[in-house]
């Protein structure tokens, strides 16, 4: 029996007749939570968010309430709130839906958050490619300002805060929160070294700053609505609330689907919700949380212990879709971008494609990422262009190992994890490709160039 979707964030999105204007939003009960929130103590809202256990939806899955708690309030400097709307992880397309189709939900969530952390000013850093999204947000902010949901003395509460929309210029690294802050300050988005530049203490303009994902901020609205305690009952302990899974690849019905954490398994998501694979195909692999998460092979058995001590022995279809289970099987839920690959996929080409992306997006600040990721791209490209060598597998493994954990930001991991996991799980295919190409080259046959 198929699991039913539980839409909280996406409750109205794509419903017939639902528009992104403020009137429609208010008709559907919009801004009620902001009205409720401004009557609450800011600390009480923070406590609700803490109790809700909501984890960041941007990729790292860090508890949002904890993040807010780290804010340096002693410095006396202004506090800033930044919404990270630079959604760029390949395979992820949830924040765009919110921005385009329900911008007021984000604005309401942001204003509640801003009120709770006592932010002086809030920013939405929106991905450069979302031209229309930026326009929609600008218009929505004007609408909200006209109704005093933001601006001076919000709803008579005495609290004032505004939102500034800042468009990026199309760089993945701007999604890294300190890179985003640098970009917002008008500089190259070179991520900062941590320590000492933790945003909660030394963020935007060296002031305490909270950077949250679009979906996370929307969750704040619903936490105020249903209370942290009720929110925490959705999902499982440690994996609360719903998650929006963006399914792409070789399924019949790709798209975004919202479910409580752990409400369904990866198999249910692929076969029941997304209509399964194309006829005659079989599952080869799944990347469960955006392109930087580690790949899962279809015929693997996943054994181990969960954090609470329960032992598990899962096939790929049995993995519950939540933060902890996906991390227990050696990958991560990341940004929720589920990329499904069937047996027609050339795994070397898939990796070459991913490597191309990361080589293109490496900011170039620190040595291992700048040089290593480009090198990995060149090697995998060569492998796809008829000059694969058997030693390339070991070479790639070694390069990835020289990057992981040695860079300024998590981009180093994001770029090396795919390589490491592809090699670990599909070593045979890499070796087979090298052998086939060596034989082909020796026989004088035409060079195989498969990559577009």
């Amino acid at each position: 029996m198929a699991v039913e979707e539980t839409r909280i964030i996406f409750k109205h999105i794509d419903r017939q007749g639902y528009t992104n204007g403020i009137d429609c939003y208010e008709r559907h009960g919009g801004y009620a939570e902001l009205k409720k929130a401004v009557g609450m103590e800011p600390d009480a809202i923070c406590a609700e968010v803490m109790e809700s256990g909501v984890r960041g939806r941007g990729g790292a899955g860090f508890p949002a309430g904890m993040k807010w708690k780290f804010l340096d309030r002693k410095s006396g400097k202004p506090i800033y709130l930044v919404c990270n709307a630079d959604e760029s992880e390949p395979g992820t397309f949830k924040d765009r839906q919110i921005i385009y189709k329900d911008p007021h939900q984000l604005i309401e969530g942001m204003m509640i958050t801003a009120f709770a952390i006592r932010a002086k000013l809030a920013f939405i850093y929106i991905r450069g490619e979302f031209f229309e999204g930026a326009r929609i947000l600008e218009r929505a902010i004007e609408e909200a300002r006209a109704k005093n949901y933001l601006g001076d003395n919000i709803l008579g509460s005495g609290y004032s805060c505004d939102i500034i929309v800042h468009r990026g210029a199309g760089a993945y690294i701007c999604g890294e929160e300190t890179g985003l802050i640098e970009s917002l300050e008008g500089k190259r988005p070179y991520p900062r070294i941590k320590p000492p530049y933790f945003p909660a203490a030394l963020g935007l303009y060296q002031c305490p700053t909270i950077v949250n994902n679009v979906e996370t901020l929307c969750n704040v609205k619903h936490i105020v609505n249903m209370s942290g305690k009720v929110f925490a009952e959705i999902g499982t302990p440690g994996n609360t609330g719903t998650r929006i899974w963006c399914v792409s690849g070789h399924v019949r019905k790709p798209g975004y689907y919202e479910f409580p954490c752990a409400a369904l398994t990866l198999g249910e998501l692929i076969y029941d919700i997304c209509g399964g694979l194309l006829p005659g195909r079989s599952l080869k692999a799944v990347i469960p949380g955006g392109s930087s998460s580690k790949i899962l092979r279809a015929d693997e058995r996943f054994k181990g212990k969960l954090r609470d001590g329960t032992e598990f022995d899962w096939g790929i279809n049995d993995i519950p879709m939540d933060f902890d289970s996906l991390s227990a099987v050696g990958s991560m839920s990341g940004s929720g971008g589920v990329i499904v690959m069937d047996d027609t996929t050339d795994i070397v080409e898939a990796l070459a494609n991913i490597n191309y992306f990361y080589a293109h997006e490496s900011c170039g600040q620190c040595t291992p990422c700048r040089e290593g990721v480009q090198w990995m791209k060149k090697v995998t490209y060569r492998m796809c262009n008829g000059a694969a060598r058997e030693e390339d597998v070991e070479l790639l493994r070694s390069i990835a190992g020289q990057i992981e954990g040695r860079t300024i930001c998590a981009f180093g991991e994001a770029a090396s994890w795919p390589v490491q996991s592809f090699l670990a799980k599909f070593n045979d295919e890499f070796v087979a490709k090298a052998k086939a190409q060596a034989a082909r080259n020796a026989s004088g046959e035409a060079v195989e160039t498969t990559l577009i």
């Binding site: 900011c363 170039g364 040595t367 291992p368 090697v379 060569r382 040695r406």
Partner: protein, 559 residues
């Protein structure tokens, strides 16, 4: 002064050995202070920390504490248990902390360095045979220590601009650049001239000047010094000489009263370049481009190379005899110089005393830049005050001398270095006076002089200067002077002795300092060698209250 102040220290375990370091010290500097090294490229002690080269990755751990009680956890031996960080940390962004443990040479650390070195070299042109940096290149040095010895890289290397002239004195080769951003940070943070930046992304990142801008500030050559590789080279020094053939001698810059500490690089008596030498009390690790160019004066066209009497070449003895004739028994004026060393000024003061000459001096001034070029464009004005050659700040020109000459109060002049006609003395007055000129370069005054006594430049003699902060600093002779020219000290001592009929000795800086330390309590207990390479801060007493012309600069705070 504050050198005796007790600094708070913290104990850090470096590779199993406990060391005490001053609190707040950077780990890279701390490890350097115990004679070891954490390899690094982007870190520079005088610039902000960016941590981009990743060469200084080390393993770091702190004593573990019980979460509930906060008490230190101990292992079986009763020693604190160390919680090692799961990932290597960069040394340059690590500040020493009590109980900290670091491993600077563990297998993981060496593996990190090997990895970073391999990455830095894959797109590097490896053109050491034609690279000016060879011999003083950190990339070469660490490649020897941590390089693989062969390349696993079979792909095409990136192509970037080569031989770009980014300023009048600096040449850029982008393929050699390792993107450490030291030059960018220097231009922004020290030179206050933000003209450099990166364009493009990832491994195509390229250093360049802002559109329409050039790296042309007076500190541009410091970027060449701090460039750890051969990306930035000096257009003046480029392709002139391999650095390993050059001899380095400590010297002091004579451009202004800042007295930047320098190194003079020479081979077989020829100077090839001058670079700054670190002194945190004086110039940190920087100096001006204009100060570096002064070495060219040693081989200038108008250098005085021969003793001359009445325009005819003569011997040293004959020139001395002619000088004595002008000095003795006349109404003598002496034009002293703030470019002369402390020792020379001291000897000149003796001549002043025995000849009862009137002393004149000019205060050479120019515009300061607030960094390392001060308004006082002489290296040793304070020395002239301390030796008693003058007792107040001189005027900017020599109009007082001109008046005295016009009034016929003086018969002859002994001029050290100065060009009188450029300082307000009329040609008529100069023509009617007997002039003995001692200096390094010819000018209108030396042309008019009856006796010309060539002297040595700062690069050819030894001595000391007292800088804007009354810091006595010594300079050494880097190259021999032109053949047959006596040192300034010998010249002055000979004149001073012969004026009173004594037999001249052959003084050197040490013997002069023996007299100097007795003559003025400011110098008591000091000698030339005792100044050391970093100099000694003097206690000038009330002299410090004089209205000196310097305004605030990197190391000078006017009272």
């Amino acid at each position: 002064m504050s050198e005796t102040k007790q600094l708070e220290t913290v104990t850090v375990n470096v590779d199993g050995v406990e060391h005490a370091f001053p609190k707040g010290m950077n780990l890279v500097d701390a490890v350097a202070s115990i004679g070891s090294e954490i390899p690094h490229y982007c870190y520079h002690p005088k610039l902000s920390v960016v941590g981009n080269c990743r060469m200084c990755l080390i393993e770091m751990g702190m004593p573990m504490r019980d979460r509930a009680t906060g008490e230190a956890l101990l292992d079986a031996d009763g020693k604190p248990k160390i919680g090692w960080m799961p990932k290597p940390a960069i040394g340059c962004a690590t500040t020493v902390a009590p109980g900290m443990h670091v491993k600077t040479n563990s297998p993981l650390v060496r593996d990190c360095r090997n990895g970073v070195m391999e990455f830095l070299l894959i797109n590097h042109p490896l053109d050491c045979p034609i690279c000016d940096q060879a011999g003083e290149c950190r990339l070469q040095e660490f490649a020897t220590d941590y390089g693989r010895g062969y390349s696993r890289y079979t792909e095409a290397k990136n192509v970037k601009p080569k031989r770009t002239r980014i300023g009048p004195r600096v040449m850029l080769d982008d393929e050699r650049c390792i993107l450490c951003s030291r030059c960018i940070r220097f231009s922004k943070e020290i030179a206050n001239d933000d003209v450099l930046g990166f364009i493009d992304r990832g491994s195509y990142s390229t250093l360049t000047c802002f559109p329409g801008k050039q790296l042309e500030n007076n500190y541009s050559l410091n970027t060449v010094d701090i460039c750890p590789v051969g990306a930035l080279t000096s257009t003046d020094f480029r392709f002139k000489m391999r650095v390993w053939f050059l001899k380095q001698v400590d010297s002091i810059c004579t451009e202004s009263s800042v007295g930047a500490n320098t190194e003079v690089w020479s081979r077989e008596g020829k100077i090839y370049r001058v670079t700054p030498r670190r002194n945190d009390e004086v110039n940190d690790t920087w100096m001006t481009d204009s100060g570096r160019a002064l070495y060219q004066l040693a081989e200038a066209e108008n250098r005085l190379l021969r003793y001359a009497v009445d325009g005819q070449p003569s011997s040293f003895e004959a020139a001395i005899a002619a000088s004595l004739d002008a000095l003795k028994g006349r109404r003598l004026g002496i034009v002293a110089s703030a470019h002369a060393s402390l020792e020379e000024q001291f000897l000149l003061k003796r001549i002043v005393e025995v000849t009862r000459a009137r002393v004149f001096m000019a205060y050479h001034q120019g515009e300061g830049d607030g960094i390392l070029l001060s308004e006082d464009r002489s290296p040793n004005l304070r020395g002239a005050l301390l030796t008693g050659l003058i007792d107040s700040l001189p005027a900017v020109d020599l109009s007082a001398l001109d008046q005295a000459l016009t009034a016929g109060e003086l018969d002859s002049l002994l001029v050290i270095h100065e060009d009188l006609s450029a300082l307000g003395v009329s040609a008529d007055n100069l023509a009617k006076t007997k002039v003995v000129f001692a200096g390094t370069h010819s000018n209108a005054t030396s042309e008019a002089a009856q006796v010309v006594l060539p002297t040595l430049t700062v690069f050819e003699r030894a001595g000391s200067f007292v800088n804007q902060n009354f810091r006595a600093q010594r300079f050494k002779s880097a190259v021999p002077g032109p053949q047959g020219i006596a040192s300034d000290l010998t010249l002055l001592e000979t004149l001073a002795a012969l004026v009173v009929g004594e037999t001249p000795t052959h003084p050197d800086v040490n013997t002069v300092w023996q007299s100097l330390s007795v003559a003025n309590p400011v110098f008591a207990g000091l000698d030339y060698n005792g100044l050391g390479s970093m100099g000694v801060a003097l206690e000038p007493g009330p002299l410090a209250e004089l209205p000196f012309v310097e305004t605030r600069n990197l190391k000078y705070n006017p009272r």
